[in-house]
Symmetry: C2
DNA sequence: AGTTTGGGTGTACGTGTGTACACCCAAACT
DNA sequence: AGTTTGGGTGTACACACGTACACCCAAACT
C-alpha cells in the first residue's frame, strides 16, 4: 500500500475526469457544478482546484481525452486496404464498434460540440476540422480522385464527416444495442450514395 | 391604454418566451433558471408559474415556435419549380436567408437537439423526423426517382437533412455575415454531389 | 533528523436557486 | 352593485453554488 505522491495525484485526477464525464452525461458541462464532481469523487469541493482551475478546463481535458478515442477509431479505419470493395462496410462497422466501446467520449463530443462552454466548443470544432483535413488527404489517395481540386476534396470530406457524426449521435441515443442495425444500414447506404456521387463527379464536364 | 386581461396575459407570455430564447442563447435550456427569466421579463419569480409549469415546458413551447419558423422555410423552398436546374442554388439561398432572419430559432433547435432536457430533445428529433418524411415524399415527385424504394428515399432524405442542419449550424456560428459565402458554397457543392449520387443510384444494376 | 511541499480538510461567506404561502387589486362576470 | 377570478406581489425557507482562508500531515527533499 505504498503509493507515491504523483501516483496518488494521478489517481484523483482520473477520478475527477471520470466523474465529470459521467455526471455531465445527462445534461451538459455548463450545467455541471464543481461540488457535484467533488461529491462524486469523494473529496471536498476546494480540493478540486488542486487538479483543475475550473470546470471549463476540466472540459478541455475531456476534449483531449475524447479525441484520443476518436483518433484511435480513425486509425483503425485507415488501416484497411484502400479499395472500394468493402471500405464502406468496414468503416461503418468500426464506427459502430468504437461508439459502443467509448460511448461516453463520443456522446461528450456530440453534446458539447453544440452546447458547452465556448472554449470547449471551439476546441471540439478545431479537432473535427483536423479530422476532415486528414480524411481529405486520405481520399486523395483513392483511385478516381486524381483530377479533383483540393477544395472539392475538402467539401466531400466535410460531407462524409458530417454524416458520420450524425450516425454516431444516432447510435448513442439508440435505446438498445439491438436498435443499431437500421442505423448502421442507413449509414452504409448513405456512404455508398455519396461515393457514387463522388465517382461520377467531374466526369460530366 | 385599455388592455383586456387575455391581451395582457398573452403579452407577458410572449415576453417570457422571448426572454427564455434570448437567455439560453449562450449556454442552454438546462442552464437556464426560472429566476433569470423572471428578472429579464420584469416580473417576480413566482409569477412565472402563471404561464408555464416549469422551464422544461417553456422549452417545449419554444420548440413549437422554432419549428414554425423552420416549416416556413420549408414552404418557401418547396414552392419552387421542381426542376434540377436551380433547385440547389435556390434552396441554399433560402436556407441562408431564413437562418439569418430567425437566427435564434435555428440556433435553439441546433443547440437543444443535442443538449437540452430529454423531453425537449425528443420533441426536436420528432419534428426533424417529420421534416425528413416530408422531404422524402417531395423527392419521390422528382423525375428520376420513380424506381426508388421508399427506404432509399428516406435514407437520401435523411442525408440531405443532416447536411442542411450542419450547414445551418455553421451559418449560425459564422462570426460575420460576410463569412457566409464559403459556407453556402460548400453546401451547394455537397447538395450537387449528393444529387449526382442519387441520379446514378440503382442505374448500376 | 529537520524542513519543505502539496493534496486533502473544515468552516464560513455571500449569492442564486426553486417553491410555498398569504396577499393585492382591477378586469370580468352575476 | 357585488362578487369572483386570476395575473402579479412580497416575504420566507431550505438548499446548492463558487470560493476564500486557515489548517493538517505524510511523502519528498535537504
Amino acid at each position: 500500500m505504498t503509493e507515491t505522491r504523483v501516483e496518488r495525484k494521478e489517481r484523483t485526477r482520473r477520478a475527477i475526469l471520470d466523474a465529470g464525464l459521467a455526471l455531465c452525461e445527462d445534461s451538459s458541462l455548463i450545467a455541471l457544478s464543481l461540488r457535484q464532481v467533488a461529491k462524486e469523487v469523494g473529496i471536498v469541493p476546494t480540493a478540486f482546484y488542486r487538479h483543475f482551475e475550473s470546470i471549463e478546463s476540466l472540459g478541455l481535458a475531456l476534449v483531449d481525452e475524447s479525441f484520443v478515442s476518436l483518433r484511435a477509431m480513425l486509425r483503425d479505419i485507415r488501416q484497411g486496404a484502400p479499395s472500394y470493395a468493402d471500405i464502406v462496410d468496414r468503416s461503418v462497422d468500426i464506427l459502430a464498434q468504437h461508439v459502443r466501446q467509448e460511448r461516453a467520449h463520443f456522446a461528450f463530443i456530440g453534446r458539447e460540440r453544440g452546447a458547452g462552454p465556448p472554449q470547449v466548443r471551439d476546441a471540439i470544432h478545431h479537432e473535427i476540422d483536423l479530422c476532415e483535413h486528414e480524411l481529405a488527404t486520405d481520399l486523395a489517395l483513392l483511385p478516381g480522385t486524381e483530377s479533383w481540386s483540393a477544395e472539392d476534396l475538402r467539401v466531400l470530406s466535410n460531407l462524409i464527416v458530417t454524416a458520420m457524426v450524425a450516425t454516431a449521435e444516432r447510435l448513442i441515443s439508440a435505446p438498445q444495442p439491438a436498435a443499431e442495425k437500421p442505423i448502421t444500414e442507413t449509414a452504409r447506404t448513405q456512404l455508398r450514395m455519396v461515393l457514387v456521387g463522388a465517382l461520377n463527379w467531374r466526369s460530366r464536364t
